[in-house]
Symmetry: C2
Subunit: 418 residues, 2 copies
């Protein structure tokens, strides 16, 4: 599929993240406008609230864009999602008869502040990258016990904390936590010393379920994808995670990119999961290509310094797709809700420059990573971490918009008030 042309000129360049082929969904505000839903086109945003108020978009009976989040659109279901995408394409395509009306509803992205694009119902994080699981397993338990016996049979996941999910640009505060090194007699309560990133994709569940769903049904339930940085406190994790898994180590923040790239926009980029090392049980088997060819990179900029790319990889290296994760998520009968967010797990290739966390890049802190003006094992205060991602089409890109966050120093006294 080639570039689809829009009358918004900036949407027609080969390197814009937001051509007409993309049409990702976000929530924005400006000095004049309260937070509201919008769709990115080139370097502009089409104001969906006003588009609906003025009759340019009319979907379903009730208004969908009188609230500053996309959950109500999700709840309309896949047919409505397709109808909305068709209508937005019609409004924004070259030669559209709606151009005059729509031009008045465009806002410059440079004038807008992005907000959380949806209300996170619940947040689940998986551990579905074969290389990451092996690397982290080696570091925590040694290479002989690296990959748990269940790993090749189940997409291992755990429930995270929805209230800690924030939008790109939100500052992240280095947490305090209970720490105990291998040579310490007893634990202490102190600021985290091994604060890390995790490069992930997030899948957003768009439709509800109330019982087990198949992998195909799960694929159809996914509304779209975002980039996701699951900030992780490795020293807190090492002390707390046995026997019930990570808890406070993952509770500080999870940052997502501001634009939901729809499943529809990613259709041309589907790829297969890798060959299975052991056969999956029937309810988790691949039924078609359900990963995506999405180029990903991570850059790290020290305070006042230039960003250095510390990792480059691709979403297609994952062992389990989001559809497989979602199918597994429902096996015991737990209802899923529009707005549920599923983290893919850390995306790591096999080479050093393709690893999705500093834990792996520095091999547990032993081999520092070179950056502008210095080196890093784990993150330092003032560091800005940015995830980048796009699918490369024929003369166009489906971009995600950056997923960025700056690390603030820990509070000197976390219980001081006022």
């Amino acid at each position: 599929m080639p570039l689809k042309k829009s009358w918004v000129e900036s949407a027609n360049s080969a390197d814009t993240p937001f051509p007409l082929n993309n049409l990702p969904y976000g929530v924005f505000a400006t000095d004049d406008l309260d937070p509201r839903c919008g769709v990115a086109i080139g370097d502009m945003i089409l104001d969906c609230q006003r588009a609906e108020e003025e009759g340019l978009i009319a979907l379903g009976d009730a208004p969908l864009f009188d609230v500053p989040f996309w959950n109500e659109v999700m709840e309309e279901g896949p047919e409505a999602w397709a109808a909305l995408r068709d209508r937005l394409t019609q409004i924004l395509e070259e030669g559209s008869k709606d151009r005059e009306a729509a031009e008045k509803l465009l806002v410059k992205q440079s004038d807008a502040t992005m907000q959380m694009p949806f209300l996170v119902a619940e947040y689940t994080d998986f551990y579905a990258g074969r290389n990451h699981a092996f690397n982290v397993g080696s570091l925590f338990r040694g290479p002989e016990n690296a990959l748990p016996p269940n790993w090749l049979h189940i997409p291992i996941g755990y429930n995270g904390r929805a209230s800690s999910v924030v939008v790109s640009g939100t500052e992240v505060r280095r947490p305090w936590g209970q720490l105990k090194g291998p040579n310490d007699d007893k634990p202490r309560f102190a600021p985290c010393e091994r604060f890390d990133l995790e490069l992930e994709m997030g899948a957003i569940v768009g439709t509800a379920s109330d019982g087990p769903v198949t992998v195909d049904e799960a694929d159809q339930m996914i509304f779209g994808y975002v980039l996701l940085n699951d900030w992780s406190a490795r020293d807190i994790q090492a002390w707390e995670y046995q026997p019930l898994g990570p808890f406070q180590a993952k509770a500080t923040a999870t940052t997502i990119s501001p634009w939901i790239v729809t499943r529809a926009a990613l259709e041309p980029f589907r790829t297969d999961t890798p060959e299975r090392e052991v056969e999956l049980l029937p309810h988790l088997k691949d039924t078609g290509p359900m990963l995506y060819d999405i180029e990903l990179s991570v850059s790290l900029a020290p305070e006042g310094g230039q960003p250095t790319t510390i990792s480059q990889t691709n979403y297609s290296v994952m062992y389990y797709s989001s559809a497989q994760q979602l199918a597994h998520h429902t096996t015991a009968g737990s209802p899923m809700t529009p707005g549920d967010l599923l983290g893919s797990g850390t995306i790591s290739g096999t080479e050093k420059g393709t690893l999705g966390s500093l834990l792996e890049l520095s091999w547990g802190g032993k081999n520092p990573v070179q950056i502008d003006g210095g080196e890093r094992t784990f993150l330092q205060d003032g560091d800005t971490l940015t995830l980048h991602g796009h699918a490369q089409g024929d003369g166009y890109r489906i971009g995600f918009g950056d997923c960025t966050g700056t690390l603030l120093p820990a509070l000197s006294d976390p219980y001081a008030r006022g």
Copy 2:
């Protein structure tokens, strides 16, 4: 404190769970009335929605009872909680001048169906019973590795699935899951064979936080308590829980009792946590009695049979209070939200008849428990499980209302539709 007398006669008996001293909050519906907030008094319910509509309750500026959940009251904060309790006491006490107006707003509990009393924002389950942790640790890892090294320093917890929390009376369907016995070559997908209960208390967070809170602050954030049965699939858990904790094993359902017993009603029953085996770090230290003397029991009735009490224990045996759990929950900065539900962890004493799960009662399935007309290692289809709980005052009880659920057989094909 003695029994406070009400003009509702059934509230004045020594064994009603709902005297004027209690005033627990629920959501009910009848054939004539849509779901709405109510307060239990004796064998009646005071309809809070109509009480507000008719001006009998007037709290804050906006209506609080135009929605069928208690989250809006929670969001008003502790001063409003106290004012509401004072006003309800005034309306319902002996000699009240509001008696005539309030009598018309009473509904018989026997005519009402109870609903979820609040919207569960997020659900966290802890592992804070010393005996349970030792017992389960022994069964999963052997007695020498039973208590993890962190256990005496942190109230260990994990995030659960809020969408799976249901109100007492909801039927629970035996789940399917991935199972692999120690002697199996590979896993299979089949109905759970070791389905279990967990006797817990649930603490409901009533006020928001945005950063670490102290144990004292955490105690003040708690709106009330419910009985909680965290249904658990032990065979799914054994295969999946390493390294990231329980996931589908805990996803089928968590049942709560229908009435929120407020922290205010439980004040006379505060007790200390047990003596510390190692000193807690300052941010988790006890600052006063924060457990409660609540007598608990579990009964199991086979289909068509009589209930047998299989366990009797007391909430006061826990090692960590809900306030300590909540304080720990916030250490890394995760915001808490009104409606967050914290499971206490399984409440087990040290004797056989005081254990809070069949896993412990039958010692991993080895020693069946005798019940009416048979015996049990784990639950069988058709079994009805009921948790009972009350605090015993001087001539009155603060009761919770039963927390009950019946186990339905697994679906023959979980993916059959229609």
